[in-house]
Amino acid sequence: MTALRGWRIFALLGVTAVFACLPLFLPNDYVLQVFFRIVLFAALGLAWNLVGGYAGQLSLGHVAYFGVGAYGMAMLYAHHVPLWLSVLFSALIATGFAAIIGSIVFRLRGPYFTLSTIAFAEVLRLSVTNLPAAGGAIGLSTPALFPPGAFWKMFYLSAVALAFVSFLVNAWTSRSRFGYYLMAIREDEDTAAAVGIDTANYKLRALMASAFLTALGGGLYGSAFQFIVPDSVLSGEISVQIAIITMLGGAGTLLGPVVGAVLLLAASELFKNKFQESHLLTYGILIVIVVLVLPEGIVGGLKQLFQRKTKPPASVAPLAATPAQGGD
């Protein structure tokens, strides 16, 4: 926890407190739902950041863990497992699932790795679609984690809690030996292995932690919308959205996923209410602008901007601000 010294810890607590207080002032459930989605995706982005940011492994299959979280929760509960235990168990199942997937796909690198993550998620989606016990394509009704009265307030606060935990894990990773190993793997996997880092092992650990958090998010999401179908909680779009949020905000940075989630999801909802059908175009243009102007993501880009101003231009770009794609 050496990373959280001095003002940083107060800043973190302050930000969390402000977010957690927001529901008290929000005018209605709809805005709360939008905020719930934003904070939840910030949490998912942070979880993804462990693998995709620090370790530099571009996973486009995180929806698998998300879906296991949602479906696991609904199906375990249907088999009389207490509600919150089924959320926890399904996250553990997702972690185990990640261990199995990881031990296979981490033998691959670069695009092959990415493709295999997509493939696993797709296999899972198709399996669930054809599994009558999981409701098949018709879907499942999910149990509500909270009573109707404070329904969205509680979901929102749970998402804040999840985002907070994910943030702490990220903060610890960014300054721990574990995190340095991951960054070394990202920068050059062969060199990392040559200096004695058990690369497969550390990548796997990062993935398991990431899967656990992602599955918790999936459980929350599944319960909040009370109804899940493979096309909603196992769709490849979610994997891509999680990755885009993090990369746009700044992969491998602490605040990147949070900034990305706020900007993208708020924009998506606002554009939708404002421009009707053309919202996707507007949304797309926004992404293109950010990618063109700030290729390292918003936080990464601003960091660089700030450092170039304060330091003479001859200085080498700092490690944390280099793009994540330097893996191999």
Partner: protein, 396 residues
């Protein structure tokens, strides 16, 4: 570096502009609409939107409802169920609409039944045909379209009176809509004495259905019954030609096979010829207002409407009548007005809800010469059906 700053400022500025709330006119009655304006079902969402647009102009031209203008509030569910759920909250909690219309697909509609019931707001379902959307028996839910069971019943009735085939194969896309229609047809066909020789499912987004169609061809059925959306319907017919599948009857549970684009070059084009489809409505339907709706639709959008547009149109018209009958915008009173509604006639035929379900007559149509024609029931038909469908080798 300066460009980056400028870009950042621009982004911030546009975000601020967007947050400023939209001004809403006072003294209007707001009705919420959830439909799929984007995503895989966008073609149908467009039809919805057009239907609603005509209805709202007609209603407001006549002075609105209860002396107030009616205003529509759209929420795009992006063809995703969770977005549809969010739409209920946006429209009810934030925009305070007096009632809801939507969603488009059976899947999204099923998803919003729960939130609609907990919000205690009346909902009219224009187009969701899967019968499980009515499972909840919620008193707040009213469906104007006929369901999958009615589709199967009408199709079998038609077959019985037109050659009485012996075997049937069912091919369906495996979301709620396709599965519901497959179930309904499988049960009722067996009950009606038809032998179900093949039941094949497919993924609507898949690009290739030849394997499915070849398996059907091996069974050589008299009838093929499709439960398909638009893009898959188009591909299915093209690939039916390619694998040379020749049943006597191509029948279908509407939707893709009843979409405006389907018999045109934008859809399946000539491959669509001779396909039968159930239909909830056609411009030629013998109901007052049908032709006028068709003419107005063509004038505005330069294409002829299919039943999805009409169902949206009639949902809004029905909503307006219910609010008028309720003499106010109290949710429970509107619900009761819908319950007691008994429209002897409308552009969509008579409207009367029995436990929330409108008792609607299903038509059977056939594509002839690039156009849909009613072929059944006989008293409403405008042409005779062509049976059997010519073999692919004999077409052109």
């Amino acid at each position: 570096m300066r460009t980056r700053l400028i870009a950042a400022i621009l982004i911030l500025f546009s975000a601020v502009c967007l947050v400023t709330p939209m001004a809403s006119a006072q003294g209007t009655i707001k009705i919420g609409v959830i439909t799929s304006l984007t995503g895989s079902q966008a073609a149908f969402g467009e039809a919805h939107k057009n239907g609603y647009a005509i209805a709202i102009d007609e209603i407001n031209a006549k002075g609105g409802v209860l002396g107030k203008k009616v205003e529509l509030d759209f929420y795009d569910d992006q063809s995703k169920p969770d977005q549809a759920v969010q739409g209920v909250s946006k429209l009810v909690d934030q925009d305070h609409v007096v009632m809801l219309l939507g969603a488009y697909s059976s899947e999204n509609t099923k998803a919003i039944i729960n939130p609609v019931s907990t919000h205690q707001i009346p909902l009219i379902i224009p187009t969701a045909t899967a019968d499980n959307v009515m499972d909840s028996k919620s008193p707040w839910v009213f469906r104007i379209c006929a369901g999958a069971n009615d589709y199967a019943r009408a199709t079998l009735e038609f077959l019985k009176h037109n050659g009485s085939p012996k075997t049937i194969a069912i091919v369906y896309e495996k979301t709620n809509f396709g599965q519901a229609n497959m179930q309904a047809m499988k049960e009722q066909a067996t009950a009606a004495g038809l032998q179900v020789v093949a039941v094949e499912e497919y993924e609507a987004k898949a690009p290739d259905y030849k394997a499915v169609l070849r398996r059907v061809k091996d069974k050589n059925p008299d009838v093929v019954y499709f439960g398909s959306y638009l893009l898959d319907a188009t591909t299915l017919m093209r690939q039916s030609m390619e694998v040379d599948l020749n049943p006597k009857y191509y029948t279908s549970a509407g939707t893709g096979f009843a979409a405006a684009e389907f018999p045109t070059p934008k859809g399946a084009g000539r491959n669509a010829e001779f396909t039968f489809s159930v239909s909830q409505w056609l411009p030629d339907a013998p109901w007052p207002g049908s032709k006028e709706f068709d003419a107005e639709y063509f004038k505005r959008f330069n294409s002829h409407p299919q039943y999805h547009a009409m169902q949206a149109y009639q949902s809004l018209q029905t909503a307006a009548i219910a609010i008028t009958n309720a003499k106010g915008t109290d949710a429970a009173k509107i619900r009761d007005a819908l319950k007691n509604l008994n429209l002897k006639t409308s552009a969509f035929g008579p409207v009367k809800f029995d436990n929330g379900q409108n008792l609607h007559t299903v038509l059977i149509t056939q594509v002839q010469g690039g156009k849909y024609h009613v072929v059944f029931p006989a008293n409403l038909a405008d042409v005779k059906p062509v049976i059997p469908a010519p073999r692919w080798a004999d077409r052109k």
